[in-house]
């Protein structure tokens, strides 16, 4: 009886177009959309060369020094920061109004930066101009201080010495900053982890449908099934197992698609990935079973309840805004401890970005406790369902 019910449930689930769409096709479509929308986001977030204008006014020695400093940051140099257009003020203004440059610098004894709007490029232009002006101020201060110490000096020789001294020290500054930035910082991966979480929880719809079609007080099919001599427990268990197998097939397809086509990084430890997916699916399945058993409403209402829980869970784990899970962790950490979508997402995150496995095991433990609680409540709900007539 167990095998018979298992096979028929398996067939029924695979023939339901709506279920197959939401559990198989929809995650693949959503994954493709994530990929298309996010594939360039991190590259475009990095500092890129932008266009500015440089306007010489009086052609003084000071202006020449400033201009020389900007030339060293032009897109032809190794430390390129700007694409520089050298022009007069009217042309620069015209370019700025047409959004062809971020801003322009009016070179003079007291340089002025003219910008169109507030923004990060504009702030960078201001900071760089200030750094250049600052270097000339440093030069002047050192020259004056050396004059005080060493008496009247030959300006040409001193300037050459100071210039050399400054250059030597400036070269050392970069060595004084020890950059230990982590290499794996692709935060858009979180979107794909939430997608896996969503698919695991959507699998609950399969379990819910199976339970709905098996219980006598919920559907006509259930009435027919329940009048047979088979035990209720065996029927429910085989139905849920069939939905679990269908769910794992859908999940495997999603993994294959995201790993080989979309190049998503889930880490290199296959066994841990399988363990997490298995536990995530179990959480979705147990949640679906509980909704199926507890809510004595029609199937559409139950689907609505399950979809709402899933989408709320995914929203809180970062599907609609990557930083959401972090904000919850920071302000209401308890919420993420009862949210299976957050546990699955965090499980993948800890697997890829943390060397220690303690956080991963903690997520597995949370998923296990969540599933156990759902299964316990489902069994309790089933035992409570006693009826002489329906």
């Amino acid at each position: 009886m167990f095998f018979h019910n298992f096979v028929y449930n398996f067939k029924i689930l695979f023939r339901s177009k709506a279920l197959i769409f939401w559990t198989f096709a929809f995650p693949l479509i959503l994954g493709t959309l994530f990929f298309l929308a996010f594939k360039d986001i991190e590259t475009k977030e990095k500092l890129d060369i932008f266009s500015i204008g440089i306007v010489e006014q009086e052609n003084t020695e000071f202006e020449r020094i400033l201009k020389q400093a900007f030339v060293s940051l032009d897109d032809t140099s190794s430390e390129a920061l700007f694409h520089i257009i050298y022009c007069d003020e009217d042309k620069a203004k015209n370019l700025l109004e047409n959004n062809e440059i971020t801003g322009y610098v009016l070179l003079s004894q007291d340089p002025k930066v003219v910008i169109g709007n507030n923004g990060i490029d504009e702030t960078i232009l201001k900071t760089v101009t200030e750094t250049i002006v600052e270097q000339t101020a440093i030069f002047q201060t050192i020259f004056n201080e050396k004059g005080k110490e060493e008496g009247p000096l030959n300006p040409a020789i001193v300037m050459q010495n100071i210039e050399q001294e400054i250059q030597n020290k400036l070269n050392q500054i970069e060595e004084m900053i020890d950059d230990k930035s982590p290499q794996k910082l692709s935060y858009t991966m979180i979107e794909f982890y939430t997608l896996i979480a969503m698919t695991c929880l959507y699998g609950g719809m399969l379990a819910m449908t199976s339970v709905h079609k098996t219980l006598a007080n919920q559907s006509c099919t259930g009435k027919r099934v329940m009048v047979t001599k088979a035990k209720k427990g065996i029927l429910v268990f085989s139905s849920v197992l069939a939905s679990f197998v269908v769910q794992l097939i859908g999940l495997s397809l999603l993994f294959l698609y995201t790993i080989f086509i979309l190049k998503v990084d889930y880490g290199n430890e296959l066994l841990f990935i399988i363990l997490l997916s298995f536990m995530g699916s179990l959480a979705g399945l147990s949640l679906g079973s509980l909704v199926g058993i507890l809510f004595k409403k029609n199937e559409n209402t139950k689907v609505g309840v399950l979809l709402s829980i899933t989408m709320l869970g995914c929203f809180l784990s970062g599907m609609m805004g990557i930083t959401m899970k972090y904000m919850i962790d920071k302000n209401i950490p308890f919420l993420n401890l009862i949210n299976p979508a957050a546990m699955i997402t965090d499980g993948f995150y800890s697997l890829v970005f943390y060397e220690s496995k303690s956080r991963f095991y903690f997520n597995i433990l949370c998923l296990f406790l969540f599933s156990s609680l759902m299964i316990f409540l489902s069994i309790y709900g089933l035992k409570e369902d006693k009826y002489d007539s329906i």
């Binding site: 177009k17 709506a18 939401w22 479509i29 959503l30 959309l33 994530f34 298309l36 929308a37 996010f38 986001i41 475009k44 977030e45 990095k46 500092l47 700025l96 109004e97 959004n99 340089p111 002025k112 930066v113 910008i115 169109g116 709007n117 507030n118 990060i120 504009e122 960078i124 201001k126 900071t127 101009t129 200030e130 002006v133 600052e134 440093i138 201060t141 050192i142 201080e145 050396k146 020290k169 400036l170 050392q172 500054i173 970069e174 004084m176 900053i177 020890d178 950059d179 230990k180 930035s181 982590p182 910082l185 935060y187 609609m320 930083t323 899970k325 972090y326 962790d329 920071k330 970005f353």
Partner: protein, 380 residues
């Protein structure tokens, strides 16, 4: 009137969906609220940094922390959350000042400062600020033997700011908020309006109901006209709600010419979406399929055209494909309105051309709906 009343009855059952999408739109807008102050003056961008100083008493280290407090947002975070904070961009840079840093600097040594950064624009700016500070610190160190004078000179040099002139008279902070609100409204309009209209049309086109309507005394033209006006009124009502919410959430920018253009653009898009809904309603006969198809269309259009991810971050190839979708032209118009410096004819001409494209899409969808209806009628 009977058609209109039935329409309202069915609509009443769908009010949850209208509330859901309005709620999502409000939640998204509040989540994306700009922290930038409104105003016409220059405001420097401030990266978020975390400073972990192991030289808490040293004067030089304190001075470095003060400098960063002035030019960046120095965050106070738990050390357990530090790596997560960096990953989720809560901080753009973590700066670790080593033990005895101040003493080592004063002794002419070159102690290393450890940083971890996100590598984005904000992190680059934080790095520039750090390099700028260290440059002054190390060049002045051998010159001044007195620590107080050394720090005084250092801060004087660092405090020098260049003059800055802001040409634009636009209130960028408020306009950015208006733009992101109306861009996201693309999803709310498509998912909410198209779904409900398709659902109601499918109920009216249900075979037994349709047969009863055909044999009734009501002229089919009157019936169709009632259905059209009922749907149109609902669309205008939904648009009105979204614009009203926009006025409440965005505020300032909405009470200007910009607000008028944003609202008009969303009205044209609502009409275009209504035409799309009629088209899909005629095309899809299976009620269960509506949810899936509308979700794919709404999410697809929103992801590919820049409703969820800012247009400047989308790949060119994706934007190229997006040209065939009305959402692209709607969002592109919002971007153009956002950039308008004035409302002279030459400036607003591209905006009107985009309006024209949206009207063209509406005509195409209407034409296709009529064509499909005629075909279905002739098959019947």
């Amino acid at each position: 009137m009977i058609v209109f009343k039935t329409f309202l009855k069915i609509l009443n059952q769908c009010k949850g969906i209208v509330l859901l999408y309005t709620g999502i739109l409000i939640a998204f807008s509040i989540f994306n609220m700009s922290n930038q102050d409104s105003g016409m003056n220059f405001q420097a961008e401030k990266p978020d940094v975390f400073i972990q100083s192991e030289d808490e008493t040293g004067e030089i280290a304190k001075n470095l922390v003060n400098y960063f407090q002035k030019h960046t947002n120095v965050k106070d975070l738990s050390l357990d959350l530090l790596q997560d904070a960096l990953f989720y961009r809560d901080v753009n840079m973590i700066i670790k000042i080593p033990e005895n840093y101040s003493q080592d600097v004063l002794n002419g040594k070159y102690p290393k400062i450890e940083i971890q950064s996100t590598g984005d624009y904000q992190a680059s700016l934080a790095n520039m600020l750090l390099e700028k500070y260290l440059q002054v610190q190390f060049l002045y160190q051998p010159i001044f033997s007195d620590t107080t004078e050394y720090m005084q000179k250092m801060n004087d040099t660092l405090d020098n700011e260049v003059q800055i002139e802001l040409l634009s008279t636009r209130d960028v902070a408020s306009l950015t908020q208006a733009k992101s609100y109306f861009n996201f409204a693309n999803y709310a309009i498509l998912a909410g309006l198209v779904y409900i209209v398709c659902l109601i049309l499918s109920i009216f086109r249900n075979e037994p109901i349709r047969k009863r309507t055909i044999i009734s005394s009501m002229n089919y033209k009157t019936y169709n006209r009632s259905l059209f006006w009922a749907n149109s009124l609902f669309a205008i009502f939904l648009w009105g709600i979204y614009v009203l919410v926009g006025f409440i959430i965005v505020g300032k920018a909405m009470f200007s010419g910009y607000g008028l253009f944003f609202s008009f653009n969303s009205l044209l898009f609502t009409i275009c979406s209504l035409a799309l809904a009629f088209f899909l309603g005629n095309l899809i006969s299976n009620k269960d399929a509506i949810s899936g198809i509308v979700n794919v269309i709404a999410l697809g259009s929103s992801f590919l055209c820049g409703a969820f991810v800012p247009v400047e971050f989308l790949p060119k190839s994706v934007l190229g494909i997006a040209h065939i979708l009305p959402s692209y032209w709607y969002i592109n118009t919002n971007e153009q309105i956002y950039l308008l410096e004035n409302f002279h004819w030459n400036s607003i001409l591209p905006v009107f051309l985009n309006f024209g494209v949206l009207i063209l899409f509406t005509i195409i969808f209407t034409f296709l709906t009529n064509w499909i209806s005629k075909r279905k009628l002739s098959i019947d």
